[in-house]
Symmetry: C2
Subunit: 612 residues, 2 copies
């Protein structure tokens, strides 16, 4: 039954040979990797407005200049990443670029930063998506955590199905969003040019802070969250059809152009029409309502916004597992993140991301404004390390026109570095400090995991072991018995087939019961020793453990006794409660001692099958 | 550390020899077994009032006559149980008496009824205890579930410490309660005789139902909850010092007299003074306030009431595990209820009762009035079966003066039967139907458990087995390996010491990796076979299971292959997440298949110890 459910939700397994067929065409790839970037207008605009509004309505006229600065940064970053794709055609995420050029440590910082950023992107996008639809139906705002978690579950299942199907499914919302938004912006522009939409004047707003440089930089840095999706394509070059890097580069350029137009267009119109949001409505919703009125078109725009935001969260599900897999391949994360699942996706990474994102949504109450200060820090840190790494890369490889490429990447690194500093300083107390703690912690964890795996590899190494090995001495097998019945006899027969040195042990709870067992025992196994252990406190496990230790000491042959545990296998599940308490207790006690003593015995489980 | 906590909470283990020293002197025994009966005035009075009040204030004058009828029943029941104690000096709970005289089925009905009654007594007493103290501090009413659960936890821990200490600890609240209550009743009587407390007149109450016979019987049947503790002593004869039945009989008479006086005294004064309760205050609290005013004495009375109710819940902790142990000894309940824990108490029964009672308190919101309709049915059913059983007992044994004893028990049975009928009819829809469902269900469960144990005993019987057994053929041991390292070599060496027929198996996830392993393998174990299983869908567990099944078919020697699972034993707990995923997955899959296929393989756990 669980297999049928699995098949229904996730589809049938895909074989390794099918991997190549899962590659994406450019339009599908754009749909998979761009939503993070494209959708960010849904929250970046809003954050710029909120950042400026506290200095009064005059400050709001700085929205467009700030947007221009951000688009400038977008151009530099796109060119930088275009070069990264050419330099790392096999997929050059910030982690790989930084590790190869700046060393392991900076690679890990980039990797941790990227993981954090993907995680936050998923949480922010889902929260903003719910806010978009709640702008039309304010009653939904109350249930935003539940709705966000439901969307998260849907995305998780879709991603566990595999990359190509993800690409197909999400093309609809992505291209739907682009059509509708460009339609709105063009129609808005036409109306403005026709004079049907006159320029707006901001109503005076209460001024709570003066318009300082810090405040402007703060608004700029919150707006920079718009840029967080830009590196997605460079991480996923391997998902493109060949020639991979050419296709990836083209797709990156198309994405950057679309994004720049959307961002400038929406912010430009918002400022020209002096649109302001309110507590129940996002700024984009207010803009759409100004252009189209409160009708079906407004609803359509908001639905499309939610759609793109949900698939933006999806971008994280493409990126996070890839980075985790790279880290796991280098032994900085547990092995299981490395493995492709049976649908050719990194299932463990997807599941981990989903759980972490769900916790974040619950913790931050699905509130975009609370989550945004944490956002962007991770992304810009990764950008900085990646760009710096690329400069080193060009200096080292001296490929064709390396000078101009190095200069371009250096420019990108410098601008990113300045932005990162601004973001960090202006948003530190708002929550950016959490990201610092997180990145430091996660890098420490990476290093600990790696050093553990290295240590294990050293311990398990075969160097220095003689090629022929002495066969070990005969085992000593100890079988705890409760009474002499068919099951006991099966267990003892099995023990005898394992070793000639079998010792049975009986724990005497009621005085005198040992003698009774001994007589029965000798009738069946006249030659096998049976030891009777008395238990004045009526405990079974304690005396058994003591007997095991004592036997090892008595024999003193540098061998731990093996414990053979007979276990009943009932036919009906509830019969399980009626048997095996001692077997489970003994196993649990051996496990607990393993933690305490640092060693564990060999255990042989012998099932005794019951027929009814 | 968990051992030290255990010692602190529960004390050191007690040896079997100490069992006799744990017997109780009569005053302590009274404190252990009587609180259930004595404390019931705290809710029975209230329920009689609530039952009559709906017919208006005139009906309230029936309180005292109803109390008289209940005390009449108390006298008959006490005499009956006095005889039971003489007839069953080794402890004659309803379960044993009914089973021996009426047959297994009625014994089980009595046993199930008793278990239910003990459970409800604990829940009702704790709820009423919290209500008593909330009558003084109304703010506590809001937190009643939490307070009741806290008290439950305290009682559980005290009981896990053992019987004698329980007796000592609870003597204080029991004798404190008796002193204070008799003091109040006597002082009230003196005041009445002096004329300082004039007779009250009930204010007119809204009449919602006419005063029918049904209504009177309903009030009577709710009042009968007062009698539910009467059988406790007869279940626990074994806890008394010898001569057990003499001591138990004496204690029963003392308990019945005290209880009758308390009940008649409190109801008599309540009616004489026309005391009525309100939503925030119990009727006993109102009575105490009338006699003593709202001072320190009133608080003291309420504290004593809570105290006796808490130890009344404690009575269930003495009785429930004993009945469960008797049922387990006869194989109607899982074996673990039979065993004495290391403090000479039936620990498993105590823990089970505690959990069930906690759930009941949460489910019924710690509301006495909701719980009471379920109560008493179980007790009276057990009484009926016990009394009827005693009639048969006397007819069979024909001991000295058996005629008069049989008549007395028959009278008890008849009255109990009538009362049970009344209780059932008048409270069926209020919740008594739940008890019918419960008792039917639990008797069915008893019979199923017994039949399972009987079946297992038949299956495991040695009858017909030849006394000398052919030794089994050599084992086939299959070792799944992941790579060739020191751990693999340890595991293979162990496998070789178990059997000469060892097969290693490697699941090839990446095409080509198998060849690499094979070369390394042949350098180390030139003579041992290594099988390579390809896995196109990158799953490890599935191909391994298929290989096991296929190997068994290939050899076709009526033997299931044994699986040897090497497992890393890390030093630090969190390293566990970095290893053994395949080992755990394989074990889980084998367990899951056990459910599905009905058989399980032998499993050998070989620990590979890591040093750091």
């Amino acid at each position: 039954m669980s297999n049928r459910l699995r098949w229904l939700l996730l589809g049938s397994p895909l074989s390794t040979q099918q991997e190549n067929e899962e590659r994406l065409g450019n339009p599908h790839a754009l749909a998979v990797f761009s939503p993070d970037a494209l959708s960010s207008i849904a929250y970046a605009n809003q954050e710029i407005f909120l950042g400026l509004a506290i200095a009064g309505s005059v400050a709001l006229n700085l929205s467009f200049p700030i947007a221009l600065a951000i688009v400038g940064l977008l151009i530099i970053l796109s060119l930088s990443y275009f070069q990264t794709i050419q330099g790392y055609p096999s997929g050059g995420g910030s982690y790989i670029v930084a590790r190869e050029n700046l060393g392991t440590f900076f690679g890990l910082v980039a990797g941790g930063a990227l993981l954090l950023d993907y995680l936050l992107n998923a949480a922010v996008s889902l929260s903003a998506g719910v806010a978009a639809i709640a702008s039309v139906f304010p009653i939904l705002a109350e249930y935003r955590v539940g709705i966000a978690l439901f969307l998260l579950a849907v995305i998780t299942i879709i991603n566990l199905r595999g990359v190509r199907e993800t690409g197909k499914l999400i093309s609809i919302p992505v291209y739907g969003f682009l059509t509708i938004y460009f339609g709105m912006l063009i129609w808005g522009l036409i109306q403005v040019l026709r004079g049907a939409l006159p320029p707006g004047v901001y109503a005076p707003l209460p001024v709570s802070e003066p318009l300082t440089l810090f405040l402007i930089l703060h608004a700029f840095s919150t707006g920079c969250t718009a840029l967080t999706g830009i590196e997605a394509i460079s991480n996923g070059v391997q998902s493109f059809r060949s020639p991979e890097s050419r296709n990836a580069g083209k797709t990156l350029v198309v994405m950057a152009v679309i994004m720049g137009l959307l961002f400038l267009g929406s912010i430009g119109l918002t400022q020209y029409l002096a649109v302001i949001p309110n507590a129940h409505e996002t700024i984009l919703s207010a803009l759409a309502r100004r252009i189209f009125g409160s009708g079906i078109l407004h609803l359509l725009i908001q639905a499309a916004t939610m759609g793109i935001l949900v698939v933006a969260a999806n971008t994280s599900f493409a990126g996070f597992p890839r980075v985790a897999s790279s880290l796991a391949r280098d032994r900085f994360l547990p092995r299981q993140f490395q493995a492709l699942g049976d649908r050719l996706v990194f299932s463990n990474g997807i599941i981990f991301l989903s759980v972490a994102c769900g916790l974040l949504i619950i913790l931050f109450d699905a509130d975009t404004h609370l989550l945004v200060p944490l956002f962007a820090v991770g992304a810009f840190l990764a950008f900085l390390l990646s760009q710096t790494g690329m400069v080193i890369h060009w200096l080292r490889t001296r490929e064709r026109s390396w000078r101009i490429k190095a200069v371009l990447n250096a420019l990108g690194a410098a601008l990113t570095g300045i932005t990162l500093l601004v973001v960090w300083i202006t948003k530190f107390l708002d929550g950016a400090w959490i990201t610092v703690v997180f990145i430091v912690g996660v890098v420490y964890l990476f290093l600990r995991i790696k050093s553990h795996y290295d240590e294990v590899a050293r311990e398990l190494s075969l160097d220095g072991l003689p090629p022929t090995l002495r066969p070990p001495g005969p085992l000593r097998v100890i079988v705890p018995i409760h009474s002499v019945h068919r099951g006991t006899i099966e267990a003892i027969r099995y023990a005898q087939s394992v070793s000639a040195n079998v010792i049975a042990v009986f724990v005497e709870l009621e005085p005198g019961s040992g003698e009774h067992i001994r007589q029965k025992w000798h009738a069946w196994f006249p030659e096998l020793p049976l030891e009777i252990v008395s238990s004045p406190y009526r405990s079974v496990i304690g005396p058994l453990l003591a007997f095991l230790d004592e036997t090892d000491q008595r024999y003193n042959d540098s061998q731990l006794s093996t414990v053979l545990i007979p276990e009943f296998v009932p036919v009906k599940w509830w019969h399980g409660f009626l048997h095996n308490q001692t077997a489970w207790g003994l196993k649990l006690a051996l496990l607990y001692r393993r933690r305490r003593l640092g060693y564990q015995r060999m255990i042989i489980d012998v099932p005794i099958h019951l027929k009814r």
